[in-house]
């Protein structure tokens, strides 16, 4: 048990990543490489690019899943040893991007793989990718939430329209 806690404490600090291009335009790939340069230096957090999915903890998926690449991506995912994370990098991997409904694209990475973290952007800034990794490691809090905005006049109109729909409720109150 003590060893397990020890591992849990230190294992997340060294994520080894394998970078998969599933049909991206290379924009996201360049930004991923940018994160590994000394300027942003992802190796501070133990992040290292590895050459084989069997050595990796994390899959960085860039690009929409094309129909041709989908079985290969599944094989890559199966090759990663069990405690694994999938990061969808870029608008294409998050939701299909501009090609979400074209004939040769299945959609975002979550159509094929269980995605753990989404990093939207076209391409995402290197800082945005670092931020996503920091969120995954627990170094930074998540900042986004679904936004719901509504015109105030609509509230007025609907509150006026409601008693007509349910007159009983108005009499009781």
């Amino acid at each position: 048990m003590a060893i397990k806690d020890y591992l849990r404490k230190f294992f997340p600090r060294s994520l080894w990543v394998y970078h998969v291009n599933t049909g991206a335009c290379n924009g996201c790939d360049i930004e991923v490489i940018n994160v590994l340069t000394p300027y942003y230096d992802a190796e501070r957090f133990g992040i290292k690019l590895v050459g084989s999915p069997r050595h990796a903890d994390v899959l960085l998926v860039c690009g929409p899943i094309t129909r041709q690449v989908a079985p290969a991506v599944k094989r890559v995912y199966d090759a990663v040893p069990a405690p694994k994370l999938v990061f969808a990098i870029g608008s294409c991997a998050c939701g299909g991007g501009m090609w979400f409904d074209t004939y040769n694209i299945l959609g975002g990475a979550d159509k094929v793989l269980p995605v753990d973290y989404y990093i939207p952007g076209c391409p995402p800034r290197p800082e945005a990718i670092l931020y996503g990794v920091a969120v995954a490691l627990g170094l930074a809090p998540k900042k986004t939430a679904p936004v719901y905005a509504r015109q105030k006049f609509l509230d007025l109109v609907e509150s006026r329209a409601e008693p007509q729909a349910a007159p009983q409720a108005r009499e009781s109150s």
């Binding site: 299909g96 979400f100 973290y117 989404y118 939207p120 800082e127 679904p146 006049f153 609509l154």
Partner: protein, 151 residues
């Protein structure tokens, strides 16, 4: 040989530290960066110009009721081109510099805006407002010139 190595070491020491302290210190993007879009619901007139020009078609417009129009922004496939902000006649859509949008839930990238649509006084139905593009089909795509009827 040794001197050249020492020179190399000196150059490396001179360079100093270039790594940004980013995840621990905030960083403001430079001027002109386009981040997540924000909609001011009070300004929106529901014309649908943004949905028309959006390259990934991430703005979905539905009319669930007689007086309501819902704009659903599916920002996970937004390409941050800011054409929606450019085309918006009321300047309701603005582009922020927010780039820290990484999330573990796809729902976090959705934005829902509900807009009141005025109805026809006679029949009580919503009428379709012309989009800015339709307006440009009438007035022309060139900016207005100083003198009129030159040609």
């Amino acid at each position: 040989m040794i001197i050249s190595k020492l020179k190399e070491a000196l150059i490396c020491l001179k360079a100093g530290r270039v790594t940004l302290p980013y995840p621990f210190a905030p960083r403001v993007p430079e001027e002109g960066f386009r981040g997540r879009v924000v909609v001011e619901a009070e300004k929106c007139i529901g014309c649908g110009g943004c949905a028309e020009v959006c390259p990934p078609r991430c703005i979905e417009i539905t009319d669930p009721g007689r007086e309501k129009r819902v704009l659903e922004f599916l920002l996970e496939r937004c390409t941050y081109c800011a054409r929606c902000a450019e085309v918006c006649p009321e300047k309701a859509i603005t582009v922020t510099k927010e780039f820290e949008t990484a999330t573990n839930d796809r729902q976090d990238m959705h934005m829902r805006v509900e807009v009141f649509m005025s109805t026809c006084g006679r029949c009580g139905r919503c009428y379709e407002a012309p989009t800015p593009l339709d307006r440009m089909m009438v007035t022309g795509f060139r900016p207005p010139t100083g003198h009129q009827g030159g040609a």
